[in-house]
Symmetry: C4
Subunit: 258 residues, 4 copies
């Protein structure tokens, strides 16, 4: 394998398809959103993306079987008429090299073009302090898609802010094809998996592209994540208190000596 390539498992005839991408990144927002969407919609596996720019290890599954790191494309036929079918993409890892980042995004766009995708949505996280309801920021290649998501509740990304990795490069490279692309970034503290940010992004997505999916299934994962954050904050507070106490003791000694 000298280059990134896509191995198709089955051909599809999608109706008005939108491609949604989410890879591991800040707060795992993209990965969590895609994993949930694929499971909830019972989407079908249609292709793998392999690349020599992924990390050089393989993964073992429960039965002891082994596989390369890869990305996977899934297909979901929208039961609503005159609506968007979905092609969903997620994977194990981002590219480990700069050139690989460009190559993987380019191959994904080739595949999208071949399947007559007119719009691609990419998902990521945006580092922020916590809030009850995380905002979702949008950036895109055309004003029209931006308006649609803003109507669905998204906020405009700050000017000058970079979008790193596959979620960003797909937008940058999509202009060379006749494909619109949009990136939705969920606010997240970023250092822990953040299903709440993922849910916020999915809410915007389903309203923008008009597909039905029940999101309440994420609530349990959200509760667990919040409990974890509370626990870590308690530990951190205790650590800070102890550090202050130690510092006071040290100052007492110093004063005594001088």
């Amino acid at each position: 394998m000298k280059e990134t390539y896509i191995k198709e498992l089955q051909q599809i005839q999608p109706n008005n398809p939108v491609l949604i991408e989410g890879l591991p990144g800040l707060g795992l927002v993209g990965k969590i959103a895609m994993r949930y969407l694929i499971k909830q919609l019972k989407a079908q596996k249609i292709a793998y993306l392999y690349s020599p720019h992924f990390p050089y290890f393989v993964l073992v599954n429960k039965k002891g079987n082994v596989r390369l790191l890869r990305g996977t494309f899934y297909y979901w036929k929208n039961p609503k008429e005159d609506s968007n079918d979905l092609i969903l993409f997620t994977g194990d890892s981002q590219s480990q090299t700069i050139e690989g980042q460009y190559e993987i995004a380019a191959r994904m766009l080739d595949y999208a073009e071949k399947n007559h995708v007119h719009t691609i949505a990419t998902i990521g996280g945006y580092r922020m302090e916590a809030k009850d309801k995380p905002k979702v920021f949008v950036a895109a290649t055309s004003q029209e898609v931006i308006s649609k998501t803003v109507q669905a509740g998204a906020s405009l990304s700050a000017s000058g802010s970079p979008i790193v990795g596959t979620a960003g490069l797909i937008l940058g490279l999509s202009k060379f094809k006749k494909i619109d692309a949009i990136c939705l970034l969920g606010e997240t503290r970023g250092y822990l998996p953040d299903p709440l940010a993922a849910k916020s992004v999915l809410e915007i997505l389903k309203n923008t592209f008009n597909f039905d999916v029940e999101l309440s299934g994420l609530n349990e994962e959200i509760s667990r994540a919040e409990a974890m954050v509370t626990r870590l904050q308690a530990i951190e507070e205790k650590r800070v208190l102890q550090a202050e106490e130690t510092k006071k003791q040290d100052e007492k000694k110093t004063t005594y000596i001088s």
Copy 2:
């Protein structure tokens, strides 16, 4: 995108053209000079340079629109007869890989050759302590261009000094084409954007290549930069004083103990 490539937006028929290049680097001298020149001359966008060797992120603009990192070529028709038209180049970033540095400079030279450019000028910064009037150092591929800039007020670069990045490699690679190339380096402290160094370089350039451009428009930016330096120096002096005070206190304690 597997290689650096140039996407032409419009064809030009330049008269006796000179290409001027300035990318981000020390003190942002090249970038500031080019940005000013392009704006002041109202130069027209004629081509983009894309590369998989640029960093792997995209930028968001004020309207939420997204674009790849890139370089841009601009064209300015000189109203004077028997004079030099200008092709101006600037961009977001230098290459992130060694091979990319060589590839980007080579592609730029191909484009210059195609447009019958006879001379290329590259702009950068040269690290020095501050002076009222920063010197401009020159290095070039032919003695003739060196003489012209020295007459215009430039000083000869010190022997053995390296010129790093695109500004240097264009000169090194230009010998394989029949194109002269010259590099102008403005003296700068380098750690802050330095419009004064940029202005000094532009003065040499306009006299060397005989084009008119009003440079006083940079004065306000220069004042702001100087105010910033003064502010940082005041902070630094205060920090040094405090460090000395702390040291004295520590010595008192030590003396007391021993």
Copy 3:
């Protein structure tokens, strides 16, 4: 040399061949196992693998002769009828680049396919605290090979654990050929060469693929390795004791002062 390539020294007509691979890695388990197997079976050199992704130095031998870093394939004709001939592979180093890791594994699979190899076994180490009898973990590309090694005494690899480097990528890439592949990882502390882990892996291998090899020849090397570990543990314990003593002394001083 622009790419990894295999230089064949002689053609073979193997009977039902299995390829066994072991390169330097954790505890040198793979390298020790292969070196022993090659010597004990008096296997014949049949091909070299060279790569520009190996480190950029050469090695000097006892006579002052020099050679590139490389991998070497050996061939052993199994005297038992209706049994597996072996192709054995070991080498000086793993690839130093990500792309090289994929390229080398791919070239090895090409060579295996050409020689009608139906199964490949790769060998590595798995970091664990010491035990008398190290376990051997197995992961593979098909359930059938897994069963065979589990019957021979191997344990199933934990789900989600990565297998890094050539030993892993061969499994991942073997699916693109019609070749089964299996990886055996011997438990090892990992920071020293570990012949006991190598022996444990070889025991599983000979029972799985039904070839005879006397393994007691490794016992002396195992004793030496154990003596070395005991010596290092004694040094470490002494260091810890001294550190504790120093700490007590420091605390006495501190107590005195405050």
Copy 4:
């Protein structure tokens, strides 16, 4: 420039030619030896080697002229009959990437083959504590060339020692051509330019390949280098004494307190 390439300035018809290579490395032994040989023999420039794997800067000369980093081949016609003409190679830098290291050595071998070179000698440094007369270690691709240099006074390289960079890879890759290759490593402390080590290597070389060159011209540079070492050692000794003094003072304080 996408690959390393050699630009020939003139064609030669060498008689029984030997290629000698010396690039910057430990103690600059190879570079100093080649620079001296080229000057002393008044060898003629015949070709440049350029590579996108060299560092990405250019160098300015005394007149302000600029050039790419490169290697240069020189030619010397041996006035003795039935003797070896020399092709000499030195340059500004080693490759900055692993693949580039292999590519540059391979291109040099192509050029050597084209010019009917039968033997290549590479020069480097070998880290050792100082002696009056540094040893020269030899490693080679054939026993015959080793014997010749050992007779000329060289010692056999220790088994297992690596030879890093171009000086080593040329030997490793020369086996794919019908060219013998030999590496001579002069003992050097390595942290300063070491003309004495360079002279020792040149003595072996002229006796091995039977060409006349006066080496006393290096003596002045050797004296200067020795004076520099003496000066640095004096500074180092003083620094050690002061550190010991400070430590004693500190211990006195500590003793006083406890």
